[in-house]
């Protein structure tokens, strides 16, 4: 589904992604964890080219991901993305947020787009918030709306860039529940997160990054119970003691 080969990226002199190789199979849920500054968000953003890669290849279904223009827009339409800061369109209602891209990119008719949007909002549990403005929703509701907005494009892959990091603790659960349900439905997902419980519960594979490199990649139980590298052991010791 997704294949990353020899990906490198620099921010100025800083080498933030070092020779990344990653494969995500159809229906697989890959959770990327690691200390802040390890490059995991950058990797996630490279996958739909919100960040430009320095060198290396990104293949989606065997086809190199286009670098710009309409072809790139076409790729992004098929790759859903959920951001840490939600990024709902502030001047549109929740319903309009979900309807915009299907109408403008897919060319869906308004009634059809609205029907799908309402279904999706019901699926993420915020059907009754459809006509509100994003700022009137709680963080958890906004993030669920953002997930519905991404799903409205019927994406083949969903990227989650620290989707719960900006949320109050009591709202993390409601977003993770939606994501867990999505994973159970067979959605291919790449999730950058600090939620170790979610990684253990929902991931097919955990990828541990540090200092711009993929240090370890393993099935969750194996990774959490018996990390192979010192760096992973250090990291887990720090995050799991709390």
């Amino acid at each position: 589904m997704i294949k990353v080969q020899g990906l490198n990226k620099w921010f100025g002199d800083q080498h933030v992604l070092r020779d990344i190789h990653l494969q995500v199979a159809q229906g697989e849920v890959v959770v990327v964890i690691g200390p802040s500054g390890s490059g995991k968000s950058t990797l996630c953003r490279c996958l739909n080219r919100l960040e430009t890669a320095g060198s290396g290849d990104i293949l989606i279904d065997g086809v190199p991901a286009p670098v710009e223009g309409r072809e790139l827009a076409g790729l992004r339409a098929d790759v859903g993305m959920v951001f840490q800061s939600f990024n709902l369109f502030q001047h549109k209602t929740v319903l309009e947020n979900v309807m915009l891209a299907p109408m403008k990119v897919r060319g869906d008719a308004r009634p059809e787009a609205e029907r799908t949007a309402r279904e999706l909002l019901a699926r993420v549990g915020i059907a009754e918030q459809a006509d509100k403005m994003p700022a009137q929703l709680s963080g958890g509701q906004q993030q669920r709306a953002a997930i519905a907005r991404a799903l409205a494009m019927r994406p083949r892959v969903m990227l989650f860039d620290e989707p719960t990091s900006a949320l109050d603790p009591e709202m993390v659960g409601e977003v993770l529940d939606v994501m867990t349900a999505l994973a159970a439905d067979g959605m291919t997902m790449v999730v950058v997160t600090h939620e170790m419980g979610f990684a253990r519960r929902a991931a097919d594979r955990v990828v541990f990054m540090d200092d711009g490199q993929i240090v370890e990649s393993a099935e969750p139980n194996a990774f959490f119970d018996a990390p192979r590298t010192d760096r992973a052991r250090d990291f887990l010791a720090k995050v799991l003691t709390h």
Binding site: N48, L50, R70, A73, G74, L75, R76, A77, D78, V79, G80, M81, F83, S85, N87, L88, F89, Q90, H91, L100, A101, K104, V105, M133, A135, Q136, A146, R149, A150, M153
Partner: protein, 214 residues
Amino acid sequence: MSAFLDHLPQFWQGLVVTLQLTAASFAGAAVVGLVITALRVSPVRVLRGIGTAYVETFQNLPLLVLLVLAVFGLPEIGVKAGLLETAIVVIALYEAAYLAEALRSGVNAVAAGQGEAARALGLTFSQSLRHVVLPQALRTVIQPIGNIFIALTMNTSLAAAVGVVELTATANRVNLLEAQPIPIFVGAGLAYALIAACAGFVTGRLERRLVMIR
């Protein structure tokens, strides 16, 4: 005051021309200003360069110079257009530079995540500008745009210098007959003030209606 009131029909004529100049050149400036804004925030370097060159050119030349150049220069190169039309086009192009700068500051005020989210959904650059970024940018710059509208209204009086008989030119003509500058120009000034007050009222209303909760 009678010097002003005796010539009311003339002043009315002048006011109508001023309103035509204002409305038409503001409409033109809005269209050109939007295009220049799009150029200035474009990811393509050449387009950004064109946008910057436009703004620098028109902001660094006095409107009066541009008007005189157009009115006397265009016929030299074979372009024949009416005085009013020429003045409208020149004022529109000039004010577009200022509008574009106001709009660009609005675009910069929109969080980067908004455009990113739009592009991540598969909207092209121009779609994300049109449906997501510009509508939010406009809301934050209603007041500066109102100010530009008022400045544009006042700037239309420069068209008098190249022979367009608008409000100021009318006042000048009437003054040549009556030799009573104070009532005549106070009267003309009040008419300008009235237009500006209307603009202020409309922008205030718009700002309250389009306020966006963040």
